[in-house]
């Protein structure tokens, strides 16, 4: 069988003596939207941070198109095509929206294609175009998330990882962002989405994984997960 597009195998990770992830296996196929759900402290953020190189794994492998990423520096993982929108957006304060977006293209040579991509992001998120010269810290929560997503697609990733898309946002803003994600996905970017809001996650994703205390306890297509009693009970609030 051909190797999957993106594959995490036996990943162990944590902070110093504290082990958070215990042998995590996860795959994303080309063109897929996959969501990762789990309660507070399950290790979702730690998983993304380990994949993007902010945290060094203790064991296991992370591959994209067969290329091993585990243990590499952040910049090499980004050039291999994996971008990470961190929890809480983490925009650069005092820098304009445009400069924040340009930071996403930091590793690229500044040429016409960068300006074209900037144009494309501004078209996808017209609110950002209106506020291009404004300090990014003055954006609303939804606009900040747009900027953070726009920033990371400026690196032209193959896989986009998003931590807590809906965090602190009104339902309408989440809906808009979800539409943009589908648009980005249709343009050929695979997506790994971490979400607290399980209904939103399962609506957007083709497949999902459930992470519990550092272990994957369930993996199934979204429709199946939505019906699974364990998921309904733990994360949706049995209704």
């Amino acid at each position: 069988m051909a190797e999957p597009f993106f594959q995490i195998k036996g990943l162990e990770s944590g902070y110093g003596e504290i082990r958070v992830l215990w042998g995590v296996d996860l795959e994303v196929n080309r063109g897929e939207i996959v969501c990762l759900i789990g309660s507070n402290g399950a290790g979702k953020t730690t998983l993304l941070r380990t994949v993007s190189g902010l945290v060094k794994p203790a064991a296991g492998s992370v591959r994209i198109e067969g290329e091993e990423l585990a243990g590499l520096e952040c910049k090499d993982i980004l050039s291999a095509g994996v971008a990470h929108v961190p929890e809480g957006r983490r925009l650069f304060r005092t820098m304009s929206v445009r400069d924040n977006l340009l930071m996403g293209a930091y590793l690229r040579r500044r040429d016409k294609s960068v300006d074209e991509d900037l144009e494309r992001v501004m078209t996808m998120f017209p609110r950002l175009a209106e506020r291009a010269n404004q300090d990014a810290a003055t954006l609303s929560g939804g606009e900040q998330q747009m900027c953070a997503i726009g920033r990371s697609i400026m690196s032209r990733p193959k896989l986009l990882m998003i931590d807590e898309l809906s965090l602190g946002l009104a339902p309408r803003a989440v809906e808009l962002l979800g539409e943009s994600l589908v648009e980005i996905n249709k343009a050929g970017v695979s997506i790994l989405l971490v979400e607290q809001d399980v209904m939103t996650a399962l609506d957007l994703a083709h497949r999902g994984y459930v992470l519990d205390r550092g272990r994957i306890v369930m993996a199934a297509p979204s429709e199946e997960l939505r019906e699974a009693p364990a998921v309904r009970e733990a994360y949706i609030g049995a209704s």
């Binding site: 993007s52 952040c74 910049k75 980004l78 304060r93």
Partner: protein, 300 residues
């Protein structure tokens, strides 16, 4: 009859002259402080070496003038380049090893390095004061009753130009954006592919470059000796506290304010105490407005 009418104008001319002298000095102070402030803001390192970097810049200008006949205004490039290289190597080779550590650790490291550099300069150049005696000084000219010391004025203008260039490098270039990004959020910057350690080395190099350039300009104004290092460091520190840490506009405002305070202080209680007033103000400010006149901001 007449003197009564003349007196007030005479005083206002005196004050104007003192203000002018203060601002000329202040522009140079801003140039000393801006690199110190940049390093503190981005790396969270209080660089005790900064004063000695200024002195080293002055020596480079001095020897370039004495042996090669290069005017100190031109040595700005020489001293700036040499100190950038020195700063880059010091950061990449030494300080990067402890850069995440608490401020006290890096403070002790730069303090130790300063002892080495400063004493090294005393051994190499002696502690005797040297002065650059220009063969063709620009002298001074009188405009509207104010005496303009031209060499100092040009030095101050060059210092301002350098500071403005640094500002544009930070806000317009890709490296500059990366420096600001690292300052605001080093993890998010790493996620953008920024090599944070390399940006640290470049930032420290730029701080040293500004110190060296300032030293080169100051060689025309102050006698040169390694003993001045601690005074320059003190000036950089006060300017940062006056103007607020980490912003270029803050360094300019703080520098000009310090120059003016020192000039008027010298008039009030004697030239030997000009800096004393500045230090007293520093303490008052630290108590009542620790974020500085401009507050803590980005690089605007």
């Amino acid at each position: 009859m007449v003197p009564a009418a003349i007196e007030p104008t005479r005083y206002s001319m005196l004050y104007a002259q003192i203000l002018l002298n203060g601002l000329v000095l202040g522009g140079l102070y801003a140039c000393i402080a801006v690199g110190f402030s940049l390093v503190w803001g981005v790396l969270n390192v209080i660089n005790i070496l900064h004063g000695s970097f200024v002195v080293l810049g002055s020596y480079i200008a001095y020897f370039a003038y004495v042996h090669l006949g290069i005017h100190p205004f031109l040595s700005v490039i020489l001293a700036g380049g040499a100190l950038f290289a020195l700063g880059y190597v010091v950061q990449a080779g030494l300080i990067n090893r402890v850069v995440g550590a608490p401020v006290l650790t890096t403070l002790v490291l730069t303090f130790g390095l300063d002892l080495i550099l400063n004493n090294g300069m005393i051994v190499a150049f002696t502690a005797d004061y040297r002065t650059v005696q220009l063969a063709h000084p620009l002298g001074s000219t009188v405009v509207g009753g104010l005496v303009l010391p031209l060499d100092r004025l040009v030095a101050m203008l060059l210092a301002c130009v350098l500071t403005v260039i640094l500002y544009f490098v930070l806000v317009r270039s890709s490296i500059g954006r990366a420096i600001v990004a690292v300052r605001m959020d080093r993890e998010a910057a790493a996620l953008m592919g920024v090599n944070v350690k390399r940006i640290y080395a470049i930032t420290f190099g730029l701080g040293a470059l500004m110190a060296g350039a300032a030293g080169s300009l100051l060689s025309l104004i102050f006698p040169i000796s390694p003993l001045n290092g601690s005074e320059f460091l003190g000036i950089a520190f006060i300017v940062c506290v006056l103007g607020g840490l980490g912003s270029i506009s803050g360094a300019i405002v703080g520098g000009l304010a310090l120059g003016a305070i020192q000039s008027f202080g010298a008039l009030l209680i004697g030239p030997q105490h000009g800096l004393t007033i500045a230090f007293v103000l520093l303490i008052i400010l630290l108590i009542f407005k620790p974020t500085g006149i401009m507050g803590r901001r980005g690089y605007e």
